[in-house]
Subunit: 332 residues, 2 copies
């Protein structure tokens, strides 16, 4: 093959905001599969907030990326050559090939796209890890009952958008929190949330109060910090909070929970969770999500960056909230 | 009757520490029961931290005491006169007659002492509300498995002492946190905890680390604040935190949780609870606790103040941690 492999490695660890200089583009020969292996040509790379944690020195819930190593990430690709009996050239596969054009795989963790009704990219978004994350936090921690009110932060994002729509499907009132009027418009008009609070507009407390006439029974939190405290103020007795992400603190600032008394007085259950802890639940969740998408009940949007070289800038933009919906990179 | 009734009413709401001037002693005639009622002569009054919350203006998990109203509280008493078919003069009853010598009751919420093997005061402590609180937080939220490590703050108190002993009975390692060497001695030598950390000795982080070689799987928290954060630092993945009390913040100071990242990274379940939410679980819990006490497996100590007039000072002392074990007032 005359084609070159391109990959993006971690060049240095960020202090505060991620910068493009934290990454380095590396060119090398395309590797050849050994017996029992396949070569995957990456078509789509998923960019997700958890990757920020992997760039840090400290302990996170998964192994950090070492300096000089290829950045991790979920991908949809195509088998470019195969010496594995389970995969044929041209098979479309979901995997974790990371920020690169080509990758060798033993086949482990590689799944053929399960449902031809869905676009390829859905498996990196609403029907994939982000969607399953939403499903897991909402159903396993939130356990919504019809008529309850569910609040979702980062409501226009890949996870939050699914969490709110699943809440609606469960018969709940869904109230989103998002940054900016355009995102809030999208959340209400396109995703069908009952209301959306623009946290950038100021007056968060008053806006939440008016959007939550019956209080909050479930909070699906992707951000932490002051927004978490503001929602805790509006919780009803017996409320559940699924702690999914803490974007507000990803750059190292402290994001304390101040309304600790409300946690006690309102008997709140607050639970952190990691979607990869319960791989046993993934197949059922994917099937359910794919069914909702195919039936038009679960909608999503994508922001697509063109070419692997664009991944660092797109990733930084996503952390700053510049994207709408699922952030992807078209690699090939 | 020539005897007078004495009662202690809320005279003013505290700002910061409770003071004796927040209470007022009132003398009045002993009331006479109407048809269907009984007159209870209070023998023992229980003093508990939750009463601090009832003295505040703001919303708590139960109705506040209004100015001029008799302070609420659990009691053991004796039927002094009866016009109720279910109670005879001399019956010993557990109830909530509050800070007073005599009280009229319709019989609702009045329970004859269930098990003659136990001393009367046990029903206000290890076999009563504090013991049930320990049982509920440990079994319903902590859900201990043999071999796990359970940390308990206020370990020498009425609730914490039971929580740690129940953890031991469940096959767990029990590590207490208490203020002062005397309390820690009591926790380890008399109550049988595996270790106890004296938070007043300084070096809390290091002491916790050395007392928790295998980390913490369950934290039964009665205090909140810095101690809660210090224990969160030592939690294992999947840890459960039962938020039972927040003594550190009862006087109005802010007690934020700062280690929010650990809640997420370690998938911690943190849950506030109120023992009165699950009255359906009380009979079973009382039976289990009484069985442990009768068999000598569950030990406790009491600090007894003499006479109703001593209640305010004893209550303030309890909030400052001056008592050891269950704080009671001998009213008659």
């Amino acid at each position: 093959m005359s084609e070159k492999n391109l990959k993006i490695v971690l060049a240095s660890r960020p202090t505060g905001w991620v910068e493009e200089s934290n990454f380095r583009l590396v060119e090398e020969a395309v590797p050849a599969p050994a017996d029992g292996e396949v070569l995957v040509r990456v078509k789509w790379l998923s960019l997700d907030p958890y990757m920020r944690g992997r760039m840090n020195e400290g302990k996170s819930y998964a192994a950090r990326v070492e300096l000089g190593e290829t950045m991790v990430g979920g991908t949809v690709g195509e088998i470019a050559s195969s010496r594995h009996p389970g995969f044929a050239v041209g098979d479309k596969v979901l995997g974790t090939q990371g920020w690169q054009r080509f990758a060798i795989s033993s086949g482990q963790g590689l799944v053929k796209l399960p449902d031809p009704r869905l676009p390829e990219t859905a498996w990196l978004g609403a029907a994939g890890m982000p969607g399953i994350t939403a499903w897991m936090g909402l159903t396993q921690i939130g356990a919504p009952r019809a008529g309850e009110t569910v609040v979702v932060s980062s409501a226009s994002g890949a996870v939050g958008s699914v969490a709110g729509q699943l809440a609606r499907i469960a018969g709940c009132r869904a109230v989103g929190i998002a940054g900016g009027a355009a995102k809030c418009d999208y959340v209400v008009k396109e995703l069908g949330f009952d209301a959306c609070v623009d946290y950038k507009a100021g007056g968060l407390d008053a806006a939440l109060k008016s959007a939550l006439p019956a209080g909050a029974d479930i909070y699906f939190d992707n951000v932490g910090g002051e927004i978490l405290d503001a929602v805790i103020r509006r919780t009803n007795p017996g409320a559940r909070i699924a702690l999914c992400g803490l974007i507000a603190g990803y750059n190292g600032g402290e994001i304390p929970i101040r309304n600790v008394f409300n946690l006690l007085v309102n008997r709140i259950r607050l639970q952190g969770f990691i979607v990869s802890d319960r791989m046993d639940l993934w197949p059922g969740a994917m099937k359910e999500l794919a069914g909702h998408i195919a039936a038009g009940r679960l909608r999503y949007r994508e922001t697509i960056a063109e070419g692997l070289e664009a991944a660092p800038r797109a990733f930084i933009g996503m952390l700053k909230g510049e994207n709408l919906g699922k952030q992807l990179v078209r690699v090939a």
